[in-house]
Symmetry: C2
Subunit: 361 residues, 2 copies
């Protein structure tokens, strides 16, 4: 049985005005159904883990929404960070809390805001990673690339170890030429930030690489089910080093051949922008992807093709002769852009911040 | 002194979702300022007429809005039609009411929803028409064409009569070939539906062409300042023939050489659609025409050119890399279309009506 951890953070500024600082990507129904990405992630993990073995780590700003979107997850399994301290703190805390309950538990960490439609293929891949995690490896899951994406980091495959491989190296986001080489070589997978390990192995590595961080999360985990939790958190949490789990543990461990990788041959996407959203969700006969998460009527798309239309407010969206565009309607903002400029949506967010319009971001 | 009559009717379905059956074109601020077309029309007539000589004829559905937009116009000068009976009824009633007060008054009729930015040139043209009206002609004002418009009727110029011409004929909307011929000939003007006449001359012509209509509006006008007004209106108004003033009076009178025309060399537009709106209102340095009649922030147009953007709600409109488009945001609907499909907006209105969504039209 897997102990499943779901770090629920990040905002998704390229999904503005749908995503906001108070309404981040993982809380939004970007799955093609009514489910949020968070709900879909927890449902997907249900094949591997029971709900009382499922944990969510999130910020205090989103604790209420997470609690309400996931009524089935026990309250003590929702780990609320008083402030963001990057992924090493979040994931190490979860590992330490799980270790208090089951010192040899196998834990997996899967981001709340990724879309994996094929739950069965995902579960089969994680089960392979669990086999190798049980043997003492810190496991990653690498996605078989569907193209030379330059917006992702890569995992270089090493020697075969049964159902997976040793991880040769973590590789930073490449330029276009390198990305094509990586994909053609067959030796690189997309780094989707999916981890599986025995908590004792992980915490040993953490103790070796980041002893202060290790000691603190252990103290916090010991106090988790005690009345001291709150005071200890407010005292110790702000002292934790801000560092990613990749830099703190995974890369140093990979250099010592302790990291493995299992290829995942399933469709995976981090749904970073509206153009991507239009690609991962099935459209209608004219290629229009319509998300109607608000209370408005169904959009009227007249002679319009291949658009991504999001109706999140209570109003009618009507288009005439509009192709390959993004139209997003929310209660306080509406966005119009061609799909090929989806990346630039974050510039609007930056402009609004610079104008002091924090109510709109 | 002119007695100025402003027929305020028509809906403007090509300006949806800004214009609605309950919020017709003439009530909207489509002037490039905060003024509505109606307010701008009455201000323009202020050079020729005092407010107590200014009349508005409108439907019962819009009486309240007209009254509030024009607080300076005396209540008895706002003629409220119980139901729409076309332009002959509306204009004849105004003529008869004015004749009760001043039997030889010169009256001009100018639609509430046309945009004429040059008020001075307009006034000079109307004054010429008033000279000829005083001599007993039913006068029209024809706009010097700026191009071969096939969406308008034309006026064919006849013999010179001082500051204007006799009107040879009213000509229906032409095809493209004819429109080019008309404009090149120099003998045709756009029919802008602007009339000027002595009320006694007009009412004599009405009595000759449409005796029943004449008799009824005379009776209504006699009762205008009496307690019988309301009961007489509810009894007689529905019996009036539905016919345009062009067919009822002007065309038959033109056939008897009683109609004159004065050329107007000013910019004029009936602001029928959003593309036209973008042409008649001055844009910013990138050609964007932005109307912000709502309570929302100024739209953010990032690398966007030559758009018509109407913000009539309380929300932010943001565009990225959008050119030559129409973006209209209102409280309950948002429209996106390329400017060259502006005419098709009325199809959305028809679709909504066929779906029974009368709340949105």
């Amino acid at each position: 049985m897997l102990h499943a951890v779901v770090p629920a953070g990040g905002s998704g500024t390229r999904l503005w005005p749908l995503s906001r600082s108070q309404r981040p990507k993982f809380l939004l129904p970007l799955t093609g159904s009514d489910q949020s990405l968070l709900q879909s992630t927890v449902e997907r993990l249900g094949r591997l883990s029971a709900v009382d073995h499922t944990y969510v780590v999130t910020g205090s700003a989103h604790a209420v929404d997470v609690a309400r979107q996931l009524p089935q997850v026990p309250g003590d399994n929702i780990l609320v960070e008083p402030s963001p301290r990057d992924s090493a703190a979040a994931i190490s805390l979860a590992a330490a809390v799980i270790a208090e309950r089951d010192p040899k538990a196998i834990m997996g960490s899967f981001a709340a805001d990724h879309l994996v439609p094929d739950h069965e293929a995902f579960a089969q891949t994680v089960e392979k990673a669990m086999d190798l995690a049980d043997q003492g490896f810190l496991m990653t899951i690498g996605i078989t690339p569907s193209g030379p994406d330059t917006g992702l980091g890569y995992l270089r495959i090493g020697d075969n170890i049964g159902p997976g491989y040793k991880l040769d190296a973590f590789v930073e986001k490449p330029d276009q030429v390198s990305a094509v080489e990586y994909v053609n070589s067959g030796q690189y997978l997309w780094n989707a930030g999916m981890f599986t390990w025995r908590v004792d192995v992980f915490l040993d590595q953490l103790a070796k690489r980041k002893p202060q961080l290790h000691q603190t999360v252990r103290r916090l985990a010991e106090a988790w089910d005690s009345p001291q939790r709150e005071s200890l958190f407010s005292q110790l949490w702000p002292t934790l080093e801000k560092i990613s789990v990749d830099y703190a543990v995974m890369e140093p461990a990979a250099a010592e051949s302790m990291v493995g990788v299992v290829p995942g041959r399933f469709s995976w996407d981090d749904v970073g922008d509206f153009d991507t959203l239009g690609k991962v969700i099935k459209g209608d006969g004219l290629g229009n992807v319509v998300l109607n998460s608000g209370s408005g009527p169904e959009p009227l798309l007249n002679e319009s093709k291949r658009n991504v239309v999001v109706s999140a407010g209570d109003r009618l969206i009507a288009t005439i002769g509009v192709d390959d565009a993004i139209v997003v309607d929310t209660d306080d903002a509406v966005l119009v852009a061609p799909r090929d400029r989806a990346q630039e949506v974050k510039l609007v967010v930056e402009e609004l911040k610079s104008k002091g319009r924090n109510d709109l971001v």
